[in-house]
């Protein structure tokens, strides 16, 4: 295990949004087969990290670098990063007017593989995955996220994950807004995706999903830095004690 090199490596990352520094030195390494959970209070910079990893032009890396499979992607465009194997499930997926979910998956599939899978085959694959996620097939012919409920949007993100099969997936609060059954279905989708060949950064507020998707590490982000890392028990501690106490403890130790 330890001889492997990380799939995703983040080194001393500083990120500014509209001139305001949000991340102040984040470092992380995700090795093949690992699931890392990232937790932290509202506004601590979790989504900022997710966007910066994916290469959103508004999120400027002012220091540090991001490596994907050993390759520096800090200045690559989002589509280049995706084609190198990166995926982001958005916390708030936007509606893309006029573009059906099927068309998106097909075009993305083609862009990622550099070639077209035969329609029949691709259609079957999408349908299988949609069924696993208990999504009605009619969603495929609807415009992406337009009029989708909160939970339906999250499911559609995971459908894209399982169909597109990236190497590194950042899942930003995919569990938020899901009912109990949906949470299990989505968690099963994530588990079905997880393999020794890929890695997942799971951003969440709740320990609940971590009962289904077992992380190897749990990190706490606060004020733009990872202030504590630990095993799954850290999530339980957070759930029991809340951020306030855990963070106070961190501060007093520092």
């Amino acid at each position: 295990m330890t001889t492997l090199s990380p799939l995703l490596q983040i080194e001393d990352l500083h990120v500014a949004v509209e001139g305001k520094e949000i991340l102040r030195g984040v470092s992380l390494a995700l090795y093949p087969g690992e699931v890392h959970a990232l937790m932290g209070p509202n506004g601590s910079g979790k989504s900022t990290l997710a966007y910066a990893i994916m290469g959103h032009p508004k999120y400027q890396v002012t220091q540090g670098r991001i490596l994907l499979k050993g390759e520096d992607i800090t200045s690559a465009t989002a589509d280049e990063r995706a084609r190198k194997g990166l995926f982001l499930a958005f916390q708030y997926p936007v509606a893309v007017p006029g573009v059906t979910l099927f068309n998106l998956l097909r075009t993305a599939g083609r862009a990622l593989r550099g070639q077209d899978l035969p329609v029949v085959q691709f259609r079957r694959r999408i349908r299988e995955q949609a069924n696993l996620l208990k999504m009605d097939e009619s969603f495929l012919q609807r415009y992406v996220n337009e009029g989708f409920s909160g939970g339906e949007k999250k499911r559609a993100e995971i459908l894209q994950l399982t169909v597109l099969q990236p190497t590194v997936a950042v899942l930003d609060e995919t569990d938020s807004g899901l009912d109990i059954d949906a949470l299990r279905v989505v968690a099963e989708g994530i588990n079905a995706f997880a393999s020794p060949a890929n890695a997942i950064l799971l951003i969440t507020h709740y320990q609940r999903i971590l009962r289904y998707v077992r992380p190897r590490f749990v990190h706490i982000l606060a004020e733009g830095r990872i202030v504590r890392s630990g095993g799954p028990e850290l999530a339980e501690e957070l759930e029991a004690r809340g951020y306030e106490q855990v963070l106070q403890q961190v501060r007093s130790q520092a």
Binding site: R83, A111, L164
Partner: protein, 448 residues
């Protein structure tokens, strides 16, 4: 020579002689000639609509060289169908077809079923001879010839047009396709379309404006629609003239009967300058009107569109969706009024205008206006002008789709809901082809 051309005022081709020649060409009866001459005098005496009028202030229609175009050219040669032939390729379904080149009828076909049902689809001039009382009952009931300088001009120099009459309960299954071809250099086209739907009748009509070649030309159609109770008409106008053409159209629909429904669709890809005035009047209680519009401008094209959703009666519904994409230095003006008259309670009126600005320095103005005199109604309007949304682009890019393709997908997505509502598959295909061609043409402002 050039000195002379500069100093001499160019000869007008919109003369009384031209009016008489046009009337003689179809052997019109005396009253028809007189109607033309009345319109001609109105044309001479009526000034252009003043720029102080909201509908006319944003583009300068008075300075266009209308008189340089010839309305009374000879019959075009056989090859006139030329590139228009591609619009008539086999496999294209229709129940009636009428092709005219500057008023000369080149093709005129009617399916037996439609003929049996008593449906009339006829060149207007022919209808004036064969069905004078029927035509006279309706002609000018929506648009009076003397209404403004343009309608007067069009009535005086009318050189073509169509009369469509749908008798009671007539159901025309497949589209009625009307094709107008501008065939001569410096030609002028003044077609008058009159569509009458009796109670319970239903039809889909596509009116196409096409140009052979790319020279300067003028088209100024007048379109009248009259709908009786429970009739259903879908009327689409598609304008794909050449890059130097001037296109001005006046279209007014009167939905007279109860529970009638009308879809009007305006599609514009061509012409250097386009001005359209479209009014749908909901006069019959419970009637409904959908108004759709698509345009894609590039180069130096200018589009100035005026719409009116006029609710006269209670429980009427109108729903408008107009979208434009613009690139290079193209410009679009949209001025849309929703009017709800006193007593028109339980009205639903919706209006949406969206303008997508692509590469170059295009410009769009969107002006929604509400004139509400009734209460107890639902009314909404939305307008937007702007480039492709950055967050939408990022979403697609995050799925591996390169920027140019992401842009293309979003432009297609912009039009997709409207394309789906194009009433016939062959037209839908053609519209997509035009959209793709427009997207691909290099930015003219960069000289590429």
């Amino acid at each position: 020579m050039s000195d002379v051309a500069l100093t001499q005022r160019p000869l007008s081709r919109l003369t009384e002689e031209a009016v008489r020649r046009l009337s003689a060409r179809w052997g019109e009866p005396g009253w028809a000639l007189h109607a033309r001459l009345d319109a001609f005098h109105a044309y001479q005496q009526t000034p252009f609509p003043p720029p102080s009028h909201e509908w006319w202030r944003r583009t300068d229609v008075a300075s266009l060289p209308y008189e340089a175009f010839q309305p009374d050219g000879d019959a075009p040669r056989r090859r006139t169908l030329g590139t228009a032939r591609t619009l008539l390729r086999p496999g294209k379904e229709y129940d009636a077809l009428l092709v005219q080149a500057e008023g000369h009828t080149l093709r005129h076909l009617l399916s037996p079923a439609v003929e049996r049902a008593g449906v009339v689809v006829m060149p207007l001039e022919e209808a004036l001879r064969q069905r004078p009382s029927l035509v006279q009952t309706y002609l000018g009931k929506a648009i009076a010839p003397t209404e403004n300088r343009f309608t007067a001009m069009a009535s005086a120099f009318r050189n073509g047009g169509v009369f469509i009459y749908l008798p009671r309960n007539a159901q025309v299954e497949r589209p009625i396709h009307l094709l107008h071809i501008l065939a001569r250099p410096q030609g002028a086209l003044f077609p008058h379309t009159l569509i009458v739907a009796e109670e319970g009748a239903s039809a889909t009509i596509v009116e196409d404006y096409w140009q052979e070649g790319e020279g300067p030309a003028l088209a100024l159609p007048v379109v009248e629609l009259l709908l009786d109770s429970a009739s259903q008409v879908r009327y689409t106008g598609v304008q794909c003239l050449g890059p130097q053409a001037l296109f001005l159209s006046f279209q007014r629909s009167r939905i007279l009967g109860r529970d009638a429904s009308l879809l009007t669709y305006q599609i514009h890809f061509g012409s250097r300058f386009v001005k359209t005035v479209l009014e749908n009047h909901l006069e019959g209680q419970g009637s409904r009107s959908d108004l759709l519009g698509v345009l894609f401008g590039d180069g130096e094209q200018v589009f100035d569109q005026v719409t009116l959703q006029d609710h006269h009666s209670p429980s009427t519904t109108s729903d408008l969706l107009y979208k434009s994409a613009l690139k290079d230095t193209a410009r679009a003006v949209y001025y849309g009024t929703v009017k709800v008259r006193r007593g028109a309670v339980k009205t639903d009126a919706f209006q949406t205008n969206k303008n997508l600005l692509l590469g170059g320095r295009p410009k769009a103005d969107s002006i929604p206006v509400l004139e509400i005199e009734a209460d107890d109604l639902r009314c909404s309007h939305a307008a937007s002008v702007g480039p492709v949304d950055e967050e939408h682009l990022f979403y697609l890019q995050s799925r591996g789709i390169p920027l140019p393709e992401a842009r293309r997908i979003l432009v297609e997505g912009f039009f997709d809901p409207l394309a789906q509502r194009i009433p016939t598959p062959w037209l839908r295909e053609r519209i997509w082809a035009f959209i793709h061609r427009k997207m691909q043409t290099p930015d003219a402002s960069k000289g590429g």
